[in-house]
Every structure is written in C-alpha cells, then in structure tokens.
Amino acid sequence: MKRIHYSLLEGRAGYYAALLVLGAIIGTGLLAFWYMEHYGHIVTGMTNQIVWGMPHVFAVFLIVAASGVLNVASIGSVFDRKAYKPLSRLSAVMAAAVLAGGLMILVLDLGRPDRLIVAMTYYNFKSIFAWNMILYNGFFAVVLLYLFVQMSRSFAVQKYKKHAGMAAFLWRLILTTGTGSIFGWLVARQGYDLAVFAPMFIAMSFSFGLAIFLLLMMALYRAVGRPLGHGLVNRLGRLLGVFVAVAAYFVAVAHLTNLYAPEHQAYEKFILAGGNIYTWLLWGGFGLIGTALPLFLLFSNAARRSFAPVAWASLLVILGGLALMYVIIIGGQAFPLVMFPGKEVSSGFVDGVINSYTPSLPEIALGLAGAALAVAITVFAARVLPILPRSLADDDVDPHLARAADVVELKKAA
C-alpha cells in the first residue's frame, strides 16, 4: 500500500488573489451587518411576519451542510473505505469552516449581537436552540480532536483513529437532528411541526455537504495543478447522486405526510400549486435544478471521463439546496398562521394574508459573506496545515479505483 503524503497548499499570486476576493466579500458582508445593526432590522426585508429572512436561509443551509461535509471523513474512518481516507483531513477542516461561516451569519443577524456573551452564559435547557449552541461548539471540539488524532505521528494516539471517527460521525448525526428539530418542533406553524424534518435534514446534509466538498476539493486541486483521479471523483459523484436522490425522497415524504392531514392541505396547496415564488423554487429550483439535472449529470457517461459534469452537478445541488431552504424557511412563514381553522380572518395586523418578503441587499451580502468565510478558512487552513494529499491520482489513492476505471473502459470497448 502506498503512503499518503500531505503537503501545504502552494501558489503565490493565485493564493493571495483568492484570499483578497474572499476578503472583499466578507468585508461587504460586515459592512452590511454594520448597516443593519445601526439602523435596525427596518432596513432589511424582514418584518414581524417574516421574522427569519435571507440570512437564515444561508445560515441554516451552511450549518446543515457542515455536518455533511464531514461525511467524507466518516466514510473513510467509520466505514473503512480506503479511497476516502486521504480526504479525511480536508473533510474535517472544511466541515468546521462551513459551520463557522453559518454561525457567523446567524450571530450577526441577531437583534442584539452585542449580547452574544448573554447567549453563552444564560442557557434555557428546554430550548432546542440552546441545545444546538452546545452541539455546534461540541462539533468544533470533536472535529479538532479528530484532526489531531488523524495528524498525530504518535502511535499511541493513532490507535484511536477509528474511535475519533465514530465520535465525529455520531455527533454530526445528533447535530443535524437538532437543526431539523428547530423547525420540526414548531407546533404553531402549518408548514413545520413534522417529525420527518429531522431525518429530512440529515438526508439534506449528506447531499449538500458532499456537493460543497466536491466542488471545493476539485477547485483546490485544479487551481494548484495537483493530480486528481477520475475514478475518485466519479465515485464521489455517484455517491452524491445517491444522496441527492435520498434527500429528494425525504422532501417528497414530508409533503405527502402534510397532504394526508386535512389541516395542512391548504399549506401544501399554497407551496406545491400556489403558482408563487415558493412553488417555482420548489419544483424548478429544488426539483429540476437541484435534483433531476444533477442526477442526470452524475450518472452520465461523461462523468466517467471528465470532471465537468460532477462539478456542474455539485454547483446545481448547492443552488437547489438554497432554493429548498428558501421554501422551507420563508415559505413556511409566508403562509398565514391559522388561528381559526376554516374561517376567514382579517385585522390591522395582516392576519389571514399571505405575507410577502423581498430580500434586501444587505441580507444577501451577509449570507454570501458567511459562505466566503467558509471557503477562506478552508483555503487558509490548507496553506498552514498539511491536510491536502500531494496526489489524489487513482493509483496513489486506491489501486482498485484505477482498475475499476479501466474495467469500465474495457467494458465500453467490448
């Protein structure tokens, strides 16, 4: 078996240019934050009806995806898949980075970000939100521990590789369950209040996380010209395909469950067939762009010989995921809260009205800044820590991969 050699990210002008661009995006986001903080949320598109807006779409997407990014490491260490092992360091670092990006958005969108210390010192243990804060911090700790065990040269520590991997895997499952439950336990709203939200969020995290990982990994390897095997990318791509299908399945189940209960039918009609932005985003954004198209690309023959289909599919999965988040978060609030089932209501406080929401520029800038922060941390970490294998060529990673690719070629030839 070949030893995997890790080395620091190379590049000079390119590296600094990348950081500069990312820094500019983050800077714009911080300016947007300052603007929203100074004038209050009145300058955003958020209202007393749509209380969670665009920042939450990005934040929840990134937080959910973060645990999915860690999957690559888990598959390597928990399920003992050789081909994934070289990727586990990058996977762990990227997972922490993506979580940090998401949390930054969440924190900067608070009404009182200056009271962050309060959030850390006062806990209401009945709140699933407070539990999530503990889960997030624990995630960082578990991932760092995992990295340490991975990178340690001491045999005494290396023994625990598998245990650390298991801990990280279990933690990430709990974390996504927690994130899903933030919505799943809201009895008040027609669109939420579904037990299936927890497994649905786990499935979404597998899919979004792997898409982010693939895209960023390919970008890094292409940028510095390190060898990257078609077999490896193809295998990860096919795995992504499976995850995308599973996520779509759970989304379908959630909507079907809702359709079955008469009290939720009006909501489903609004989302599935309302002809509004949410309908379009769900069918066109998540269904077509985020599911059907990627599946087609990932399982196409072209994906075996070229990186482009997998890269495009990953990008589309990310866009589709954001669309789905928008439908879940904004759509769920846009539908009027039902206080008197079956009755027509009106009031001076927009009861019984479908709430409108127009995201404002600062909100979007803040969301993008979180994403940029995730990428920036990953790139920077790759520069200072040996987390990138020198070569990800199929031969170096797992000889089986190379052979498998050959077999495919042979079969085609025959």
Partner: protein
C-alpha cells in the same frame, strides 16, 4: 473607604450601610433583606415582591359584547405601553389587535381582541435559548429584555402572533418608563405587569366600556372571574394545541 480590595468586606459594608439607611435591598430574586424604613411599615408597592405563586392571572373576554367597530382596548394599550402601530404596518410593534373572523360556510361574523394568551405551557418560553422569554410564577408571560438577544425564535413558535420585534430605535419622547422596549429585542403584552403589581387592572380591561373584558385570579374560586368561568362555557383559541391559555373567550367562531 481605604480597604476596598477585599470584596468580602466591601459586601459587608454594603449590607451594613443598607441597614443603616433603612433601605430595602434585594440580594437575589426571591431573597429579600427587608428593613423598616423611617415611614413605618413597608408599602405593598414599595420593594416587596408582588408576584404570588398561588395566583394565576387571567382574562375572560365576552365576545358577545365586543363589537367590530370598537378598538378601545387597542388604543388604551398603545397609550399605556407606548407602542404605535399603523394599520397594516409590517414592522411596527403591536401587543393587541382586533381580529375579524367570518365563517365562510354560514356567513357568521364576529370580532375579538387577540393579545398574548399567557399560556400555562408557553411555546415561546420553551424555545427561548437564553430564558429571556419567561413566565412569572403568577402566570404572566413576558420578555426579560435584559437578556433577550433578538433571535426571534419565540416569534416563530407563538401560535397567536402575539410577539413583535422592535425593528428600529424608539425616540425618547415615545418611551414609557414603565414599559421599556428598544431596538433589537422582542416584546409583547405582559398583562400590564407594572399595573397589576401595584394593584391596578390591565389598561385594556379598564378601557373596555362594554364590560366585555374581565381580569382576575383564575386560581381563586371566589374571584369574580372564576365564578363567571364556572357559570358559562368558555373557549380557548386553538385549544387543540393544549397550551392551557390564561385568556378565555365566551364565544369563538
């Protein structure tokens, strides 16, 4: 004071001084150091806890008397608590609103005031990460704005849209000393805690000249409200959620 680096001594001095001046000091919520002032007995409204765990404050709203053109309760609350919401505004603070409900099947229409329902099992309190969304032991649900971080999860959780987020700075002239609220925090009806604690009834109940609103201690069988509740059928909004509301209505659509 010369020797002040000893926090223990400073604290002892502090308490001694408090005793000397005859002040009333709260050392911790619930733990009181009461001394008699120069004026004789301590007043009910002068430093004693007014919250009584044996009580449960609540309201009964007789919707048969409530007309759809009247919003005296709403304007009284605005006046008392210093919020101003323009009709249809999406970002203004509102604590209480009149909702018009119509049954499309029968054409029956009615109007009722909706405010925080002061649930016994409030979802907003359960979800709050810091515990700012709180329930007093006498059943009043309110926001401790000193530890509210403005995450708005309580607004997501409330089935009654009773809570508002303060979207912008409130000018000094509009602020009320007894009902502070400010940018970046969530706020809602607190059943006029500042009035109830000093022996007054909530502003909306006081303002209702149709006798449609009744306020009192639901746990006291002799209270007017409890007697009335025992006499006639009353209903909760979305009783299916099982939240055990502190506000009940005599008729719902």
């Amino acid at each position: 004071m010369t020797d002040t680096s000893l926090s223990g001594k400073a604290r002892r001095d502090f308490i001694k001084a408090a005793l000397a001046t005859g002040g009333v000091l709260t050392l911790a919520p619930g733990l009181m150091l009461l001394t008699t002032g120069a004026g004789g007995e301590a007043a009910a409204a002068d430093g004693k806890p007014a919250v009584d765990p044996k009580k449960r404050w609540g309201m009964l709203i007789d919707t048969t008397k409530c007309t759809d053109d009247c919003d005296k309760c709403v304007s009284a609350c605005k006046e008392e608590n210093g919020w101003q919401a323009e009709d249809g505004s999406l970002t203004d603070v509102q604590w209480i609103r009149k909702v018009n409900v119509k049954d499309p099947a029968t054409g029956f229409a009615m109007s009722l005031p909706v405010m925080c329902q002061h649930c016994a099992n409030p979802p907003c309190v359960d979800v709050c990460p810091t515990g700012a969304s709180m329930q007093r032991v006498d059943g009043i649900v309110r926001v401790d704005m000193h530890i509210c971080i403005g995450c708005r999860y309580c607004m997501m959780a409330c089935p009654y849209k009773a809570r508002s987020f303060v979207h912008e700075d409130i000018p000094e002239e509009r602020k009320k000393p007894h009902a502070p609220m400010g940018k970046g925090c969530v706020t809602s009806c607190d059943m006029c805690a500042h009035r109830v604690d000093v022996g007054q009834i909530p502003a909306c109940v006081e303002a209702c000249d149709k006798g449609a609103m009744m306020f009192g201690d639901l746990n006291d069988p002799n209270a007017g409200i409890s007697k009335r509740l025992a006499e006639i059928p009353t209903y909760e909004i979305r009783a299916d959620l099982g939240l055990d509301l502190g506000v009940r209505y005599t008729r719902l659509p």
